[in-house]
């Protein structure tokens, strides 16, 4: 994995670019400083971590602009109203990496403790703004117009808002292999896949009934969670879960009567789990309930891992994008 301060490339490379945050280095050279200002380090639609009022927020780059004093980026703070969107310089931004997320958690935690006496806690156990929207809710900016813009408020960590769903390494390998075959070798999965996403979710629910030794009617909560997963999958697949070369196939196969969850399989479902924390953030679930939810989702991933031979393709029997003929590949 290379380390790079340049903008992420468009080439769908399977290699991961883990970017060091050079702005934190005490030994930055003049050249490195120049590069930081003169190179477009973040791209449009990239998820980033952004400083604001000493706290660090999860944000998304909407626009990039080269100015005389370096590249500037128009960011939207995820989970906050659009009126907070603003132009920032590179010094306010960090790459969205595990390392920086940990840094964010540490800094926000430290700042919260400093301000502990000034705020009361919300129902959800996170610090609230001093002025609340009458409806209560999470006390986030999006619900309160009365909050002053200088952000005296204490936000939840972006990492706290995001439910932590760690994908097991053996499943990650499927993601990597798919990427290789689809984006580099021009292959596609033959659709419809068996088992489909709906089949897999049903298998999991059956497994849970047996494992937990409870009546089907008592499994309401688990059933509702996985109905939710299915709904997310059907909504998200065509929008954010397909490689470019898979889009044509999608348009050919999906009809009004044929949902993605009936056609696609474990490989695409797994991609949803990468995006799931961000999607769930919008559902605004209570922290305690979110932890319960997380347990169920992690258990589901273990189920996928345990049964991966049956659920995932080990031999790539895929269609060629160009020729559309079925060819077994090893």
């Amino acid at each position: 994995m290379g380390s790079s301060n340049t903008a992420l490339s468009d080439d769908d490379s399977a290699t991961v670019t883990k970017t060091d945050s050079d702005s934190d280095s005490a030994t930055e050279t003049d050249e490195e400083i120049c590069n930081r200002y003169d190179t477009c380090l973040f791209r449009e639609d990239e998820k980033v971590l952004a400083y604001h009022s000493r706290f660090i927020y999860l944000a998304k780059v909407l626009k990039c602009e080269k100015r005389s004093n370096g590249w500037h980026y128009f960011v939207h703070y995820l989970g906050w109203k659009k009126n907070w969107d603003e132009w920032v310089g590179v010094d306010r931004l960090m790459k969205f990496t595990e390392e920086n997320l940990q840094k964010q958690e540490a800094i926000n935690k430290k700042l919260k403790e400093e301000r502990k006496g000034e705020f009361r806690t919300s129902k959800r156990g996170t610090s609230l703004v001093s002025m609340r929207h009458p409806k209560g809710s999470r006390g986030k900016k999006r619900n309160s117009d009365s909050i002053c813009k200088d952000k005296q408020t204490v936000p939840s960590d972006s990492s706290e808002k995001l439910v932590n769903i760690r994908i097991p390494l053996t499943l990650k390998k499927h993601l990597i292999n798919d990427c290789e075959f689809i984006t580099h070798l021009g292959k596609l999965f033959i659709l419809p896949r068996t088992p489909s996403v709906e089949d897999i979710l049903k298998m999991y629910l059956d497994y849970r009934y047996k494992k937990d030794n409870i009546m089907a009617s008592s499994c309401n909560a688990v059933r509702e969670i996985f109905k939710g997963i299915c709904a997310y999958f059907n909504k998200a697949l065509p929008v954010i879960l397909l490689y470019k070369s898979e889009r044509k196939q999608y348009r050919c196969i999906i009809t009004e009567d044929l949902r993605p969850s009936m056609v696609y399989g474990a490989e695409h479902l797994l991609r949803l789990f990468v995006k799931l924390p961000e999607l769930l953030m919008r559902a605004d679930i209570e922290q305690k309930t979110l932890l319960e939810l997380q347990k169920n989702l992690v258990d589901f991933l273990k189920f996928l891992q345990k049964n991966q031979n049956a659920l995932f393709r080990s031999i790539y029997h895929v269609e060629d994008v160009e020729t559309s003929t079925s060819k077994p590949d090893i």
Partner: protein, 128 residues
């Protein structure tokens, strides 16, 4: 709620479409009635408390199952019994006509434009 408006006045915060139903009463069992009514009131209060966290409008969008799950969990913890999704929806039906609620605008914001999957986005938390 279909069936027209009762003689009951509309309560504050209640949709024009869904007047509250009066709880059943029996002239011959007043103590039971009061105990039953108290339970009803408790239930409705907890539900309204839950709705402060989980706005009904979110039950129309893509998050509806998770929001319903949140409501189920909240009620279970508050009232110490299981609630099925249908039970929760029936309870909500006393206050809201969910069918006329429009989905939240924010939902349109999340998945509002197509984005090709990129390996770099997929694996941004990959270990080296």
């Amino acid at each position: 709620m279909e069936g027209g408006k009762d003689k009951e006045d509309e309560q504050d915060g209640v949709s024009v479409h869904s007047p509250c139903k009066a709880p059943p009463s029996s002239a011959s069992s007043l103590p039971k009635f009061f105990a039953g009514e108290q339970q009803e009131v408790e239930l409705e209060l907890r539900l309204l408390e839950a709705l402060e966290i989980y706005p009904p409008v979110k039950l129309r969008g893509m998050h509806r199952h998770f929001v319903l799950y949140g409501l189920m969990e909240f009620l279970q913890k508050s009232l110490d019994r299981q609630f099925s999704p249908d039970e929760v929806l029936q309870l909500l039906d006393r206050f809201y006509n969910l069918e006329v609620l429009k989905p939240d605008d924010e939902e349109i914001d999340i998945l509002n434009h197509e984005e090709d999957l990129l390996a770099t986005k997929l694996f941004c938390q990959e270990e080296p």
